[in-house]
Amino acid sequence: METKVKKPLFALDKKKLQETGLSLLITLIALVMALVVGALVIWAFGSNPIEAYGALWRGAFGTGIAFTVTLGKAVPVMLTGLAVAIAFRCSVFNIGAEGQLLIGAMCAALVGAYVHLPMVLHLPLTILASMVGGMIWAFFPAVLKLKGNVNVVISTIMFNYIAQYLISYLILGPFKGPGESPATATIDETAQLPDLLPKPYVLNLGFVLALVAVVAVYIILNRTSLGYEMRAVGFNPNASRTNGINVNRNMFLALLISGALAGLAGGIEVTGSLDKIVNNFSANYGFNGIPVALMAHNNPFAIIFSALLIGAMRSGSAMMQSSAGISKNMVDVIQGLIIVFLCAEHVIRYYIKRMGGKKNA
């Protein structure tokens, strides 16, 4: 009797494992293809791709310091990746992580600079402010969706621009700090994230916060009734509605949580490394959340690794530029290629199946 029950369980595990393996393989293939095509582009511009990639690797992982830089650069994209992923699991396309990150950063910068409290209160309050800021910026598109059925993709993109110019105005006008260049005042030391490692290593508590966020998102999605509902809505809104799940409420909440995560990314940037807001401080961290989530198939734990990959390219690109003479922007090209090949998932799947089929025949 017992063996009867156990056997199918084993079969399932094997199947699940196979599916996970296949997903992983597809992601790797997309990655390799992106690097190969990227190499062709580098070669076409007259440089040596092996040298370029070598420099990229050294820049990202070559030394202990480089490695901590990579970890640090992974933090904001890990959070915006989580933001994109949790919304996507509920069928909400949040393209506005960039704007939410900017507003979150602004809120953190203001609370950090203008509120004065002991660190135990000031730092958490500043971090909280960034999350609230991101949430507020997601709140508007969420309400527009709820009340006017405005497409979230469009509204969140538009809110990115609004955020960008709002920030420019604020750091030139009302909140311009002391000094010549347009920037906010430097935040108090009580609002700055402590370092995890002594200098010259550059890694602060933000990395731990990002990992906590990963676990939190996993728990929300897989251990709470909210996550059960959000995923159900993502898979089948009709069946969800019919069975008493409030579809709009879940999409609304998904977007707010997403905004909070993106805002947190901005808050960690400000409290962890920037200390203030300068113009164009975000290196598209918000937008990079999209490929990070895509590569990870919206799985929170996989996002750690896809964020590390993007972080490595960000930190290695400087070395690639200085030692191999290839523009930093090349990593954007490779990132774009990764997205293109990941979107071709079904094509890759088809060819893997066909190859597998031939073997069997």
Partner: protein, 508 residues
């Protein structure tokens, strides 16, 4: 007398990992006959059809077409042998016209210019010859399901098919449409085509077949002549035991309170179309109230109004005496109204979720499945699933597989099990046996009657008169958003119901 055979299958065997889908199947199909392949869902009918059509290759055995051995590598080969197949799910492009859909892939004329006029003329001729009544100019998106099916038939006729395979063509049709469809098949047969027809609906099988081959669990149980068999025998062959789908004895119910009462409920869409027009209805405890009617006469809106998916413009819906018109979907479900929706894929299940997760959908935030409305208890969910799996005979490897991997009948059992496990006062079942094989159908109907015997009210919406007649205690007939009449199921005939479904009172 020499009989010519269009299709002969000799010992066809097809294995999939872990299952023998077709086990030494031998069938002879005579030229010019309608040969029905009957069997429960999962018996291996579709696999066999796909083998004949060249989509699968058999592991063993030999196919003969017109008494010549053939080896099909793809559907191209079978089309070359004048075999055509109408799939259960249509393969049409909605944005194109009928003519464009039919010629697509082999456009007549030169490479640069499609000979539209010529193609349309031929299609029109074919349509008239077989009484299909299809305008080649019409856009497929504007056609009804029946018409789209006829376009599929035209498509294979246009390609000069002589052997026509139909994979459960009537699953998507209403009773009236099935009658018309049967006439079309008989017309095709009269013009000399050979037809291989898959179905498990006994009425139509007995109406049009010459021979019937029954398959069960991948094996041929037998081939019989229509004249020499009857419904009971065929059913026994298909299911492997006796099945009772005829009228059930019913418990007496007198002076039971009204569980659900609709008073003058109206609902209008686009300010002009009255979908519900002053509906008055009472559902008592301990009865099955069947709602009969031709599809599209307000049944869908009636269900939605009771379950809270739409708000009626006027009228009251009383549930256990309280007006629930203002209550939301979840509040109504929690107060004791359960629903088995018509489309289980769209409204009943989250196919990507496991069987276990689907079995708590809608109750997932309550004890014992979630603590404090927040923390999911997957152990409790799993335990619940294993209990229901046994009680409702849901066949799956285990309750952790995605619901989408189960057969239609077992998917429906998930929905029924879930809704019954809510222990509702009122159970609304909309077309609960649609697309199910006889065994599953019997089980679903039995469950509905069990609910009734427990003193619940069951509201059964069905387009199948047989089902309405055999399960209901009383029958309400709906026509153009109004209840024409409510009659006792005892002593009403199909003919009377049929007339009422078209709007006339029983006594008229």
């Amino acid at each position: 007398m020499s009989v010519k055979y269009s299709i002969q299958l000799k010992d066809i065997t097809k294995r999939f990992p872990g299952i023998v889908a077709n086990d030494h199947i031998t069938i002879d199909v005579e030229q010019g006959e309608i040969h029905t392949l009957a069997g429960e869902n999962g018996a291996g009918k579709s696999t066999l059809m796909n083998i004949i059509y060249g989509l699968y290759q058999p592991d063993e055995g030999q196919i003969f077409i017109n008494e010549q051995p053939v080896h099909f590598q793809s559907s191209k080969d079978s089309i070359a042998h004048k075999i055509g197949m109408v799939h259960q799910h249509f393969m049409l492009i909605p944005k194109l016209t009928v003519a464009e859909n039919i010629v697509v892939g082999q456009e007549p004329g030169s490479r640069l210019k499609v000979d539209r006029a010529g193609a349309e003329k031929r299609i029109r001729e074919l349509s008239e010859k077989y009484g299909l009544k299809i305008d080649p100019h019409a856009k497929v998106a504007d056609l009804s399901v029946t018409e789209q099916q006829r376009v599929e038939i035209l498509k294979i006729l246009y390609r000069e098919a002589e052997i026509l395979i139909f994979d459960e063509p009537t699953a998507v049709l209403t009773p009236q449409e099935i009658d018309e469809f049967c006439d079309i098949l008989l017309g095709l047969k009269a013009s000399g085509k050979t037809i291989l027809f898959i179905s498990h609906k006994m009425a139509e099988v007995m109406k049009i077949s010459d021979h019937i081959t029954v398959i069960r669990r991948g094996k041929v149980i037998g081939t019989v002549r229509k004249d020499e068999t009857n419904v009971d025998e065929l059913t026994r062959m298909m299911v492997g035991r006796d099945v009772n789908l005829s009228r059930r004895e019913r418990k007496e119910f007198t002076d039971q309170p009204n569980l659900l009462e609709l008073k003058n409920v109206s609902y209008t869409v686009n300010k002009t179309v009255k979908k519900l027009d002053g509906i008055n209805l009472q559902l008592k405890a301990g009865e099955v109230l069947g709602i009969a009617g031709v599809d599209g006469n307000g049944q869908e809106e009636l269900v939605q109004a009771i379950c809270g998916q739409i708000t009626p413009d006027s009228g009251e819906i009383l549930f256990k005496g309280d007006n629930i018109v203002k209550k939301g979907i979840r509040a109504r479900k929690d107060s004791g109204i359960a629903l088995v929706p018509e489309d289980r894929h769209r409204d009943g299940l989250v196919l990507q979720y496991s069987v276990a997760d689907n079995l708590v959908l809608g109750m997932h935030y309550q004890e014992p499945y979630a603590h404090g409305h927040t923390w999911m208890d997957y152990k409790a969910i799993h335990k619940n699933a294993e209990t229901l799996q046994d009680d409702f005979d849901i066949r799956c490897a285990n309750v952790d597989v995605p619901a989408g991997t189960l057969s239609g009948g077992n998917q429906q059992k998930i929905v029924i099990a879930r809704e019954a496990s809510r222990n509702p006062d009122v159970l609304i079942a909309v077309q609960p046996t649609r697309g199910l094989d006889i065994g599953a159908m019997e089980f679903v109907q039995k469950t509905l009657l069990e609910q009734r015997d427990k003193g619940k009210g069951v509201l059964l919406f069905s387009l199948e008169l047989d089902e309405i007649l055999s399960v209901s205690d009383r029958i309400a007939v709906i026509f153009k958003g109004r209840i024409v009449d409510v009659v006792d199921a005892e002593g009403v005939t199909r003919q009377e119901l049929g007339r009422m479904m078209l709007g006339s009172h029983k006594d008229a």
